[in-house]
Amino acid sequence: MTDNTFEPTIIGFTCNWCSYRASDLAGTARMKYAPNVRLIRLMCSGRLDPTFVLRALSEGADGVMITGCHPGECHYIEQNYKALRRFLLLRRVLQGLGIEPERVKLVWASAAEGARFASETTAFVEEIRKLGPLCWGKSSEQLSVISEQPDDLLLITDNSQKEVPA
């Protein structure tokens, strides 16, 4: 697998009130974007426990996208600011762990911004693609095993993951 064909896997955390609806809107409007992001719906970006992000990265995600309401537009008044604080702290922690902090991205998208959601998603996938696979907890040998796997089921049944239990 060369860098060109590397398909990153990304977990996206979305707010029920804004960004999840933005992704719904992107769907209704049939806007195409990169398929590498799998979404988890939270009631609010403030619900995001930083350990969720670490869990995702350690279980095979190459990047994590956190999305919430624009500052000042939080459905719960101001909880997105708390998400912002945690996000900034989390990036420092990741740096300390030797992980590129750019692997975690925070995006504000209101319920009306389907187009923004789509374009930000695609842009993030490209950023992660440039960074390459996250080799957390995998030795370089195992990585070469991964790279030799035929991508029969594309990004899904990455057999190497089964061989390396968490």
Partner: protein, 663 residues
């Protein structure tokens, strides 16, 4: 591994099946997720149809399913449908999970293999998550039968009257001294040319005298707390400096007041009022308001002419703003629109060239109760124009200003053309980009104006100038445009220009929306729950939007929305109670260390600290379920019902396929 899970993959016709191999997804789930407890995986053409739902109900009963995953559309569309189906079959509705493979997969990706693979991951995530779901019970709360209507324009009046007529109390709050809104400023209404005041005044009077309507004019909502069925609203009743108990509305105070002020609101800056005034003769209520900024007594400390002449001693210079607190179950927002500020289009010269008028100025000019008694004249107050140019799309359909079409301006422009023609016999030009007359009898009105001889020029006007180039242009306003149908630039000299200005969201719409917990679209209008099927409800239960607050619209549509919202409110009131989602946070007192980190995080003050027990406690009635405290608790003592750590971590693992049966 005791759960028995059913997975149902929806084709949604070809909406999903066109891009996702749904059969493969179902087979894969049965095979690869069997060890997780998937005992049956099916695909079906329309899961949301009755047979589709019956399929699930039957499996629950016959196969003893304990969990259900439906891979279909967004949970915002059909979560309720499938939860109800589960409930009908005797399964707790919160043991159903939706995996969105339409909005998040089939509609946004085109490669079938990729989309199928992603769908599998999404289903896997939902299966892992549903195992961790706990049965929850809806919380039932009683509905307060009172309703708050904010905004006393025609849409708000309509909503208030319908609810009041059904026998329930309505608080109608209006920022201005009188209800009536923009419609009270208009002269005629298109396309029937009914006199606006003639059809509006009876409604205003009815609202003003209705026993079930509490009218609060010159008032603004300053705070909203609570939730559907149980809102607590604080309203600021601004000081009128008039004792409403004593005032008879005789008008002597206005007559005697020596201070003349340009009336920026009702007369759109084209006429004058006094410092103490009722905005217009038919105002409801008929009590005047004292304008503190301009009143001589408030500025200099002397005058009090109004007090001297008032026959009932109703003038009260010591009156203070008053805060009123009310409880209501539902809220209807009818806050209307602001007119686009035409001064921003500087090439049209409004504000610089005296004889360029805005649409609302023209309404006042042609109104018999307006500053010129209905004579259409130039700004000198006497000259009747011989030629008039009406410019459409001012500030609308223009990325420099507002992107959207303001809907009413074409018809408004046609109405002006008719009125000018009828009252002055002047030559009338209408400049348009596209003529939009799409509604019952609207196009017929266009035909009528064509017949009357109005000259139509297709082209967005480039500029209005007083710089004469040729002798025939001296002393005129010159409208320069491309006649796009003739393919030539034209310069048309006229005496008067009317700008058919667009509508835009209220300048404070964003703050108002925030106060009521609803959002605005990118253009700034309040966002409805569903653009087609739920146009008056919002994402916040119990808050409805009507009229131009939701987007530009004409009078019939505003009235229809007012009535529609009242039906929704009455539906809620008559149900007497409302079920709330049980998505709340709870604290496990055994585990709470009493650190109080969570206390300051809650914006709804739902977390209290019990000093005696040295633990914190959450009030479920106040908790809104955002989950911020759950994420923050260092002891892991707070759990979020419906969005627990276990559920989310299981979903992460599932999405990353760490849950598959080992090979």
């Amino acid at each position: 591994m005791t759960e028995r899970i059913g997975v149902y993959v929806c084709h949604c016709g070809s909406n999903i099946a066109g891009t996702v191999d749904v059969v493969d997804v179902a087979n894969w789930a049965a095979e690869k997720l069997g060890h997780q407890g998937v005992v049956i995986a099916r695909d079906y053409k329309f899961m949301c149809s009755s047979p589709g739902q019956e399929l699930i109900e039957k499996d629950i009963k016959e196969l003893g399913l304990t969990r259900v995953v439906v891979a279909a559309c967004s949970p915002h569309l059909h979560e309720k449908t499938f939860r109800t189906a589960a409930k009908n079959a005797g399964l707790n509705p919160y043991l159903v999970e939706l995996a969105s493979i339409r909005e998040q997969v089939s509609w946004v990706h085109s490669d079938k293999a990729v989309a199928t693979a992603k769908s599998k991951a999404v289903v896997s995530g939902a299966v892992s998550r549903v195992i961790e779901n706990a049965p929850l019970e809806e919380i039932k709360v009683p509905i307060n039968p009172n309703t708050l209507v904010v905004g006393g324009g025609i849409a708000g009046i309509q909503a208030a009257l319908e609810i009041a007529n059904a026998g329930f109390r309505v608080y109608l709050v209006e920022r201005e001294p009188s209800i009536g809104g923009h419609m009270a400023q208009f002269d005629k209404t298109f396309p029937t040319l009914d006199c606006s005041a003639c059809i509006l005044t009876p409604r205003m009077v009815e609202a003003g005298t209705h026993p079930n309507i509490t009218l609060l004019t010159w008032s603004e909502v300053v705070n909203v707390a609570g939730y559907v069925g149980n809102f607590n609203v604080t309203i600021k009743k601004k000081a009128r400096f008039i004792n409403e108990e004593l005032c008879t509305g005789c008008g002597i105070c206005q007559e005697k007041c020596p201070k003349k002020v340009v009336d920026d609101v009702y007369e759109a800056g084209l006429g004058y009022r006094k410092a103490v005034y009722t905005p217009f003769a038919q105002a409801v209520p008929n009590f005047p308001v004292m304008d503190k900024e301009n009143c001589t007594y408030f500025i200099k400390g002397t005058c009090k002419a109004c007090e001297k002449f008032c026959p009932t001693n109703a003038i009260d210079f010591n009156q203070q703003d008053e805060l009123i607190n009310i409880d209501v179950g539902n809220i209807v927002l009818a806050t209307g629109y602001d007119l686009f500020d035409a001064r921003r289009v500087s090439n049209y010269g409004y504000g610089r060239l005296p004889n360029v008028f805005t649409s609302i100025e023209f309404e006042r000019l042609s109104n018999a109760a307006g500053p010129t008694s209905g004579n259409i004249v130039l700004r000198d107050g006497k000259t009747v124009p011989k030629s008039v140019g009406i410019i459409h799309c001012v500030g609308s359909r223009d990325r420099n200003f507002n992107n959207y079409c303001s809907v009413i301006c074409c018809m408004q422009g046609l109405k002006f053309a008719h009125l000018v023609h009828e009252r002055t016999g002047a030559t009338v030009y209408n400049f348009y980009i596209d003529m939009r007359t799409a509604y019952k009898t609207y196009d017929e009105f266009y035909q009528r104006v064509l017949e009357e001889g109005t000259l139509f020029v297709r082209g967005k006007v480039a500029e209005v100038t007083d710089a004469a180039r040729y002798s025939n242009e001296k002393g005129k306003l010159i409208i320069q445009t491309e006649d796009t149908l003739a393919g030539k630039q034209r310069r048309i000299p006229v005496d008067m220009v009317i700008l058919s200005s667009g509508l835009q969201p209220r300048h404070d719409a964003k703050e108002v929306g925030k106060m009521f917990g609803i959002s605005c679209s990118t253009d700034g209008w309040f966002t409805e729950r569903h653009p087609k099927l739920d146009p008056v409800a919002t994402m916040t239960e119990g808050v409805f939007i009507v009229g131009c607050a939701q987007g530009p619209k004409d009078i019939p549509s505003s009235v229809a929305q007012g009535a529609a919202a009242s039906a929704r409110v009455l539906d809620k009131i008559l149900q007497k109670e409302v079920a709330l989602e049980p998505i709340k946070a709870t604290i496990n007192k055994e585990m709470c260390s009493g650190c109080r980190i969570c206390n300051g995080l809650c914006p709804f003050n739902a977390i209290a600290f019990l000093a005696d027990d040295n633990v914190s406690e959450i009030n479920p009635a106040l908790c809104q379920g955002c989950g911020t405290c759950v994420a923050a608790c260092p002891a892991g003592a707070i759990s979020g019902m419906g969005f627990s750590d276990e559920q989310i971590i299981a979903q992460i693992d599932g999405l990353l396929l760490r849950n598959l049966e080992p090979a």
